[in-house]
């Protein structure tokens, strides 16, 4: 497969895109070039917002794309000056550092942004970027509330932006092999998918609140969240273990696994279901997500169940994964189908004549590079990316409803058309959360 040699030039893509009928996205003149000319440097100009953890992975991907002549890297941004300094040195000459992402959004020369901030920032920054005309690649989970997800979809559609969510498995080979096998009946009709996953950690070393370190803009880090004093156990990375900012393993890894499962089950349109969560609370510390948890999602028409398990019944070999239970056997998918190979049974499976073919962008071996290539393609062609924000929102909705059912201690019935919980005013009030001024949708 792939490698840069197979990657068509940007000019070829642009010619094809220009010839396409009904070009729904507005692509800037810098990208397409005015009056039929190619844009300056013939590249997308990109900024990275949030440069710790996955943000650095994205930056390194962009450096590779830059070397291949496909992008300019204009800016890097972070609320932590230590991280920002490291990123600007990694990015090299000419890349402008910012603490406040809004400086990036007001720059007219930037076509697109990659958002890899803590989860509670994803929606606000995505909506603002769309409003400012930028295409967006946003890390998973798409949002921390359902109202945020709805706003992200609305902003992407209103401003005709390509918004890709960073659940890479839908462009990765192992998940694609599994998806093709499942959709073509390798184990017959699947009525149950189970997940196993290691526990959300417990904060066994709690410490009192204190002043933030000088390099961190704590107010900006909190952003839309209600204000509270700094505590070293909030960040970096550990924001994932708090309901408000991360939502635990089900929202962090579940956002990957659910995306793959819905893809394999061809269930993106099955938006209504019931959710019932049970869990054990953490015995101490700041983090409030349940270390152990079981969430059962029941879909109808056709009927099937998805069971999230922390720890769940581990069937495979690695730390987490999924099992598709069909009426003719079972198929295991390790992790989410990105970083681990597909099961040999799926690899050996031959699609029957007239069987279902599943499309996938296939330009790079690296799943991180390939997922971005899929996003670039969507920008160029005016099409939806593999994990379009609407899919990302639906996946995040499942994660968020799982946590909501746990918090409320009751089963929820989700109406995916109205995007409301049936007959539960309290639960519906919790689908959104007021945001702190001025960090709001």
């Amino acid at each position: 497969m792939s490698g840069p040699d197979r990657h068509p030039s940007r000019r070829t893509f642009l010619k094809a895109a220009g010839a396409a009928i009904g070009f729904p996205h507005i692509v800037s003149s810098r990208v397409l070039g005015a009056s039929g000319r190619t844009g300056a440097g013939n590249r997308l100009t990109v900024g990275v917002i949030g440069v710790g953890g996955m943000g650095l992975v994205h930056l390194k991907n962009l450096l590779e794309f830059r070397q291949q002549g496909k992008v300019n890297i204009a800016t890097v941004c972070d609320a932590d000056e230590g991280r920002l300094g490291k990123a600007v040195r990694t990015a090299g000459a000419g890349v402008e550092p910012y603490r406040d992402y809004r400086y990036i959004l007001e720059r007219k020369d930037i076509d697109a942004v990659i958002i890899a901030t803590p989860d509670h920032w994803h929606a606000v920054q995505t909506v603002h970027a769309c409003e400012c005309g930028k295409h967006v690649y946003v890390e998973k989970p798409a949002s921390v509330t359902i109202e945020e997800g709805k706003a992200m979809v609305a902003a992407a559609r209103k401003h005709h932006r390509a918004v890709q969510v960073g659940a890479q498995a839908r462009t990765a080979k192992p998940a694609h092999i599994t998806c093709t096998a499942i959709r073509n009946g390798i184990v017959g009709r699947v009525t149950r998918v189970t997940c196993w996953h290691y526990a959300t950690p417990i904060d066994n070393d709690p410490v009192p609140d204190c002043d933030p370190p000088p390099e961190l803009d704590w107010d900006l880090w909190l952003g839309p969240l209600r204000w509270r004093p700094y505590n070293p156990r909030y960040c970096p990375g550990t924001f994932r273990w708090l309901m408000e900012s991360g939502g635990g393993q089900i929202r962090d890894r579940g956002a990957h696994q659910f995306s793959t499962i819905l893809w394999c089950m061809d269930a993106d349109r099955q938006t209504s279901y019931t959710v019932e969560a049970k869990g054990t609370p953490p015995s101490k510390g700041l983090w409030d997500c349940p270390p152990e948890m079981e969430v059962v999602y029941t879909f109808e028409d056709p009927h099937w169940q998805l069971v999230w398990g922390q720890p769940g019944d581990k069937i495979g070999k690695t730390e987490f994964g999924n099992v598709f239970w069909g009426d003719r056997g079972r198929l295991v998918l390790e992790w989410e189908g990105g970083h681990k190979p597909a099961d040999e049974m799926a690899v050996d499976f031959k699609v029957p004549a007239g069987g279902v073919e599943v499309a996938r962008t296939d330009e790079y071996e690296s799943l991180d590079m390939n997922h971005k290539a899929d996003w670039f393609k969507a920008i160029r062609e005016g099409s939806k990316p593999a994990v379009d924000i609407e899919i990302g929102h639906r996946v995040a909705t499942m994660c968020n409803l799982g946590n909501l059912s746990y918090l409320l201690g009751r089963k929820l019935s989700w109406d995916g058309v109205k995007q409301q919980v049936v007959n539960d005013e309290h639960a519906n009030r919790l689908l959104g959360r007021p945001q702190r001024h001025p960090y709001h949708l």
Partner: protein
């Protein structure tokens, strides 16, 4: 044959020699769980002060059904110096709020709301009062609106009070937000306008500043 027993949000799988034994064991677990639900407010407070993490955790997790009588003693405990005891008390309060918010809670909800409103008298630390405002944002109705609106003049609480009013549906909270905007000092008018816009109101004369950058970095770009 394993049987699933329900103990609140937890399901315990039990396997015994035969179905009768399994059923009896299941009944015992469910009975013990039901007994734990009968905990009084005093018993809850005692358990929350226990030095054993597990005892405290079990207590706060089961606090929902203790209800309104536990709110005032829990709020006092939540202001304690012991970090983990205070945290457990706060989590117990949240359990009560979320249990009271369930469909059909009726008088229980009214009682919990009234107790929470009574905490806004200012005797608790600001951090805890903010927590109470967020609890009311989840379950509060018209009765909560004016007590919350009075906090809009409190420098340490006004932003949380604004957000709580924004979340509570109905004409009363909307009117309180409008009155809050009219009375707000200049440095808080954009905040109030934000809430009104979230509620679908047009607010002329006060521009939205959400896209205005304000935070400069000290990090320098690398020159070529």
């Amino acid at each position: 044959m394993p049987i699933a027993c329900s103990a609140g949000r937890n399901v315990i799988l039990i396997t015994c020699e035969n179905i009768e034994e399994t059923g009896q064991a299941c009944n015992q677990i469910e009975l013990r769980f039901a007994e734990s639900l009968a905990m009084t407010a005093d018993e809850l407070i005692v358990k929350l002060k226990d030095p054993d993490d597990k005892v405290r955790t079990e207590a706060w997790f089961g606090a929902g059904r203790v209800g309104a009588p536990a709110i005032r003693p829990l709020s006092a405990l939540a202001a304690e110096d012991n970090l983990e005891v205070a945290r457990a008390a706060k989590r117990g309060l949240w359990q009560i709020v979320r249990h009271a918010g369930r469909p059909g809670a009726g008088e229980e909800l009214t009682a919990v709301q009234a107790e929470l409103v009574s905490l806004l008298d200012g005797r608790l630390p600001a951090a805890l009062l903010r927590e109470v405002l967020w609890m009311l944002s989840e379950i509060g109705g018209e009765e909560s609106v004016q007590p919350i609106a009075r906090q809009l003049t409190h420098m340490q609480l006004r932003e949380d009070a604004r957000m709580a009013l924004e979340r509570i549906p109905g004409a009363g909270s909307l009117a309180a937000l409008k009155a809050g905007l009219a009375a707000a000092p200049d440095d808080f008018k954009t905040n109030m306008a934000q809430s009104l816009r979230q509620r679908g109101e047009v607010v002329p004369g006060i521009p939205c500043v959400k896209l205005v950058p304000t935070r400069k970095t000290n990090v320098k770009r690398v020159d070529g």
